[in-house]
Amino acid sequence: MEQTITSKKSQRIGRRGLERLDMLLLLIESLDLNASEAMIWIAHQGGLDELFPNRVELWKRRCHNPLRKSTRRGLLPSSETDALIKLVCLMADRLYPLIRQLLSSTEPSKITAERWLLLRKRLIELVEERMNPRKGAVQKLVNSNSNEKYLENLVLTLALSSGAGGNSRLRASLLDNLP
């Protein structure tokens, strides 16, 4: 039993998982303009300052996303992906009121539509700035016709990654056997 738990914990997140993890961090940056500062502060509060003492160290890990302009080869060790997942979950907790506003149907529909529009605009700007535009997946993200549903799913994923059970839920989904 112990062996099974150890092998599950040491499973490495694949290419597609790293893409999603970085996209979630990008979404956090789109939701909160001061997110890059907040991430370092949250990392410090959450005991992750050894891995992410500054923005550069965090950026180095995020560059393992194969869609980035300046990408780094290879997969991240599980200790580092676990730290990134924890960071995403802590940030999701912090931003939960904001995420909830986007998902709620009780908010005025006009204001909700404006919020989604602003979020989509910010995310596309960040994608264009940091991702490789020659990749098909990036072109798809930037294309406003195909990114609407993707963005909605990403926001819902972030919402469900918050709270006490969010970490294990997100980790399991990043380990999905995607093609």
Binding site: I99, R100, L103, L160
Partner: protein, 197 residues
């Protein structure tokens, strides 16, 4: 002796009452035996029941949320079970059947925000160290390829190499059909036969 714990997340409020299980040495503020619970979804309804009902609700809602994170929208719970949840185009539907024969089934339509509030509430309960109860809830595990909804990437990943191979074969066939260049024999004059001289 009776303990009460409340979990509160914007639109969902869950309150459980219970006692520490003294037979296994639980003391203080812990709850080992849940006697009752109340779940209030603001603007929709208030539910209450015994521990088994709460466990059934968790067995359906927690895996549903896990699958949503992987973008898999599927129904959890059967048409005969006491709790069933299924996706709608603009939300989620929770179907509750009472064990009492005279009570009609109840249907609740939740939006994404209400669902995440409910999931956070149930997560807080099952992770709470003060509630020492074994919940029979499936573990969060990675989904296999056949469980994932989005099948398009397979087609997308097959198309470019298939097109490439087809183009390569077409050009190879065209090149084979081209006539081979005629090679003329070298124009070298034969040397005079020395024996005849």
């Amino acid at each position: 002796m009776k303990q009460s714990i409340r979990y509160n997340y914007t639109s969902v409020r869950l309150e459980i009452d219970g006692l520490p299980d003294l037979s296994i040495g639980q003391l203080g503020e812990s709850i080992g035996i849940i006697s009752s619970w109340r779940l209030e979804i603001v603007g929709l309804t208030q539910l209450e029941g015994k521990r088994d009902h709460l466990e059934t609700l968790m067995q359906v809602v927690i895996p549903y949320a896990r699958h949503l994170v992987s973008n898999v929208r599927q129904t959890f719970g059967t048409s005969t079970s006491s709790v069933q949840i299924y996706p709608l185009t603009d939300g989620h539907k929770l179907y509750l059947r009472s064990s009492k024969p005279d009570i009609q089934p109840m249907t609740l339509k939740l939006d994404d925000a209400q669902l995440t509030d409910l999931v956070r509430c149930l997560d807080s309960l099952r992770m709470d160290t003060r509630v020492i109860v074994h919940w029979a809830i499936p573990e969060d595990v990675p989904l296999q390829r056949h469980q994932l909804e989005d099948k398009s990437p397979i087609l997308e990943s097959i198309t470019p190499p298939a097109l490439g191979s087809l183009l390569f074969l077409t050009f190879a066939l065209l090149l084979i059909l081209l006539p081979a260049p005629r090679i003329n024999p070298p124009l070298i004059e034969p040397l005079p036969d020395k024996s005849k001289i």
